[in-house]
Symmetry: D3
């Protein structure tokens, strides 16, 4: 499976905003006051904990944005699963520039690798099953496109990127038009032919209606593994079945074993802890 | 202690960006296709888990940005510590507008309350001691000003906002100018009189030099509680002492009991899990 | 069928940019030099030619952005098909403000109504057939979300909004992985379960492979009506069939009669002429 | 006559916005999923129809923005009039990058060349006469500076870029101050000495007043060729005479033969159809 | 003469940027920490020195941007010439909001009034002569549209707003095409009919060539009053004559008495000192 | 003392905005119409008056932004004090590009050097005394970070960059909480440990309270030299003493001789006249 990269404009925007917030109105006043402009240094970007890497290329762009003269040698790639202590990249260049970029680069790398690591852990747990792990729209505000890239790095699959790229019919929508059938028809009439329609149900007795209404995907919300198993039997492969609702890495396996096609987990993007990454600096002869 | 609010421009920018990323290029196609334009609804914003609230005002701004006609009645405030099930606010207005804003509003509220909740937990743990809990620059890229507000909501104190608003002298800076004294002098010569100077030391034998060099604050990096206790004795109140380095909520108490003035924890902003918040929607008579 | 509105942020951005480019660095120097600040006027927004209206709400936002004090009474709605001479809205307020907004408001309204009018004409031509008319990504640079709204106003359906919201496999993709089957599998492995996969074929002998590979939609590129008819027979309803390639309003009927499900036409957004709209101003008593 | 290029910042902004709208939140998911990262390709940018080229440099900037490593060999220039089938440029580089940029580059090139082609057609029609063809402010929202560049490519002349760079006195302005003389004086008093003053008249009996008031240019609005001829005689070269009002390429010749100095046509920017351009891709050995 | 206001978008942009730079990442930490959220205050905006007011409306927008609830009563207008001690406006509202906006509002008002005051002083000096005082493009970076508004407030006239809205032929341009005549012809061929052409000459023997070439305006650069007088005689009213080059308020009178039509002075925008304005705050009963 | 450079993002933003405002919607129409695209030129950036240089690097970035192909040889650096006539840099490249960038580059350089020159003059006046010269927040709207850099170039020290990076307690804050002690305590409780607290007093009898409350700095507002001398004696080195309030270069010496630690002067940024700089252009053989 090819890893789909994030779009450049989203990356550029993130680099711009995150550097600006760290450099503020006067820049790195400590390094600029103490370190000579011509001092060079070599920095090793290191994973202090084992995990799945995501955001290494973006972190390198942070360094290059601060100083295009920094030379970078990568020894890992986004999507790699590495041991604690692995050197991910070596950057050599002006010491001031490396120090100015350090925290911003590490924040990006640690945050995205934190997500990727949790996703990879879940994907590994269910690797023997025919099920895919997906994210949700429960992402950190302003970082959706990038966090969804981290999910891909971990081997996960992306659900909707927003309210606009797929239809997701929930109870309020159904209530407004009277039935699942009406809701699916209304959506189909308004949305284009390239748009998938998903229906969220929280009771098994809604499943048949959703399938018959022509739902491409049915989201089984907050159901127990037993209910999910029943749903899989009822559907008989007529649509994609997705389980969701408060599923965490600890319990994902029992949900995965039910036979559903997809498990989507908000936890992966809204609660994954940071991966510990560091930048070790040494003076460079250069 | 007064809670310092975040600056409006940072909030506005966050609201703009996070709504744009969720509404995308076609808006909420599901609600717009199924729910009549004149349908009204009442939404209860609820904390599903106990925690400390942060971002409620911002979440309300998300709703108002989508539709200034939504009427909101708040029943909690940022900084409040609430039980699971607490209704934080009630919003009434066009159902389409509330649904379009829902996920973005909840993402902001859940993320910031997640941080505030962890901060408040740590602050409560050490409430009987004369120590303050601070954040770091290890924040989510692009969200620093807002996440630091969440830290304040939880009762924490803000460390530097960037590389520009305080001097932080580390080993590389000391190495470049030859001694702690030289580094402090260089910083003092370049930085203004309103800028504090902090020196990071990782060995006790550097502490005296830092104090004598005139450091306002000494950061004791990665020291054991025993070492910190010794540092407190050595400093004798001549400067502010800050402990830092991988401290998590589980072990913070033993660090706090050493007598240091400040404990700074990157964990609070880079690894705090989301607080579970929800928006329960019911049709409104209006 | 409900008309899906454009997202507010896209509209706001368009209003901001288009007003800025017209008002420039000194504003409306003619009106400001000659018309008293307290002069009021009444403006009738009129369709000088018959057509389908799109952008009336956006045009009204242009007026309100220049002056929130302008009072507007709409007598038509986006999506309406109107005769030449129809008054679409009456705006009353400060004469200077109305004149400053005039050209920008009309440019938006004329451009979008131009597209909607052509779409509505094509939709009317094929109204008795079971076929839908779709747009393409051949839109005016920077205006895609808004022009696709104009297509919806005319009764058309939206195809992809970008390279990211649906898979479209073309000859180069197929060549790169060796076969249609490989291409569909590669796409399915990388893209999420909410993403539809469309395969473009330009020869009938590729159709079966595309269907068997699991394509949701097959785009029949540059085929004659006779070939399309054959394709419809071959597919037997196993997938959605879309005809495309240089189809203009003049010849669309013969393509529509072939039984394909969708006809997509770049012409609708890249070559539709403006609809003639005007703003007739009269002094207001107020 | 030298072709005045568009300002870089306007071009950069257009490239940024149009690429972002096409690449969206996940980029070119089809190409990234199917085409190897190291695959190279050669693309020929071809004019499929005869016309006047505009936007080729901007299209090349689109390619370079996606990937600075794409090598481009141009074989035509903006302003050239070419036959159908002419290769305008050859781009060689990573296949993924070329495909990601393709549609955006072609949309720019086709739109601007569409305008330039119509302008060039009109200019050619009147080439034997002493008259210049000008655009208006009836441009596509947000694209004025660029579309006016397309007009220059076609050999046309630019009228005002906005409400701020020249005075244009119309009936409402005249009514507000009582007379053409008063209006011109008011404008002259407020506007700088580098600003030209144009007066729009729709009756011949207003012409003398406009000239005597000191108008630099008189716009003769919606007049017949016969009336225009009379106006030319009346003015006797004392000011620049401009004919305007619903003039299309079909009838422009008869207006041009009246002896007016300038003919301005909104049609050229608001209703010119796209020029058919394409990008033909072949695998490259590289 | 009507005072032409600055365009709203330029004002909004200035308000946004200047508030953001003052409020930074944590807002007004002093007022928020000490002043209750419900404390009200009354602020008098006062001119501490005599001068010509400019930017009062913009300053009021700064207050309203921080808090739309601030009530403002203006007692002066932009363009007014006031004595020291004049109250320009009274603002009443939340004390925190007024204090947060204070410095930004005063910086705008003091800067623009500083310019307007110098312009008004020069205009008054030459009020009995038939000459107009103009600005140049020597403005503070990023503030041109607003500073040129300040010039208008002081009774001055605006020269070019940029390189794009009028032609200004200087020695390098003349050298490139061989003669003034060639330069004017080249410019006339490329620029539109609404664009004025100015030729800069630094020797009297160039004047006749410039006039004969059809220059609308001739800029007499760095000439002595005696030379200017001679130029006026030579030109005999055939074109507008503008004197420029290092003219300051001290010596402007002798240049004005030469009979030139316009005197342009970079000094007015690049070296005018601030006008002393203040905000006096008193607690309000409310 | 090392000169702290301005942060890149602030410089880039200034370059972008100032070039856009000068090039407008059509670019340098004069040069583009008259000068061949391949003409080269050599430009000498010259200080026409003696002064302290600031903004030379930014001016060079302006040139490079217009055309990366311009080659620049610097012969001076920011912070240098130069004689009239000094060549600061030589730029060689396309003549059109150099002319397009000229005014913007000079406006930046002249404005910042104007400030630096005044600062350097004041610093030189008091060079034998143990006092530092600081700026204030009285800066030109939108230019604070850059103007504070100019202050550093002149040898001055930066005061607060905004309302957020240091506490400044004034009379209104004191009144709101009842006493200086309360105000300092409230600020200390809310602000972080890296934030300095300054108290402004305008009467000597407030000084002791401020010191005892724990103020890091006391600002002595609008005091006479005699009062300042008394304050120095009273404080006895227990805090930093800063004199402020209407101090100009003419009278700064007598304030400096009082023994205060810092003198802050709004005049330096809001009223410093431009330094006369020019760009002398000659055709280049290249």
């Amino acid at each position: 499976m090819t890893l789909l990269p994030p779009p450049d404009h989203a990356v550029d925007d993130l680099v711009t905003r995150s550097l600006a917030e760290d450099l503020g109105r006067a820049g790195d006043i400590t390094s600029n006051a103490t370190i000579p402009a011509d001092a060079h240094a070599e920095a090793r970007i290191v994973a202090r904990a084992a995990g799945c890497i995501s955001g290494l290329d973006i972190a390198m762009k942070v360094l290059h944005r601060v100083d295009p003269g920094i030379e970078i040698t990568k020894s890992a790639n986004d999507g790699d699963i590495v041991d604690a202590g692995t050197v991910l990249a070596i950057a050599e260049g002006p010491a001031r520039s490396i120090l100015a970029a350090e925290r911003t680069a590490l924040n990006v790398l640690g945050h995205l690798s934190g997500i990727a690591t949790q996703v990879a852990g879940v994907v590994a747990q269910v690797g023997d099953l025919d099920v895919r792990i997906a994210d949700t729209r429960k992402t950190t505000p302003g970082l959706r496109a990038i966090e969804k890239y981290a999910v891909r790095c971990g081997g996960g699959m992306n659900h909707r990127f927003g309210l606009d790229d797929a239809v997701m019919i929930k109870d309020n929508h159904i209530a407004a038009v009277g039935s699942i059938t009406n809701a699916v028809q209304a959506a189909r009439a308004s949305a284009g032919h390239v748009v998938r329609i998903e229906v969220e149900v929280d009771r098994l007795d809604q499943l048949e209606a959703a399938i018959e209404a022509g739902a491409d995907i049915v989201l089984l919300d907050n159901m127990t593994p037993a209910q999910l198993q029943q749903a899989v039997a009822m559907a008989g492969g007529r649509c994609t079945l997705e389980a969701s609702g408060g599923i965490t890495p600890e319990h994902v396996r029992e949900f995965a074993e039910t036979g559903v096609d997809v498990i989507s987990m908000g936890w992966l993007t809204h609660s994954a802890p940071n991966l510990d990454v560091a930048l070790d600096l040494a003076p460079a002869p250069h």
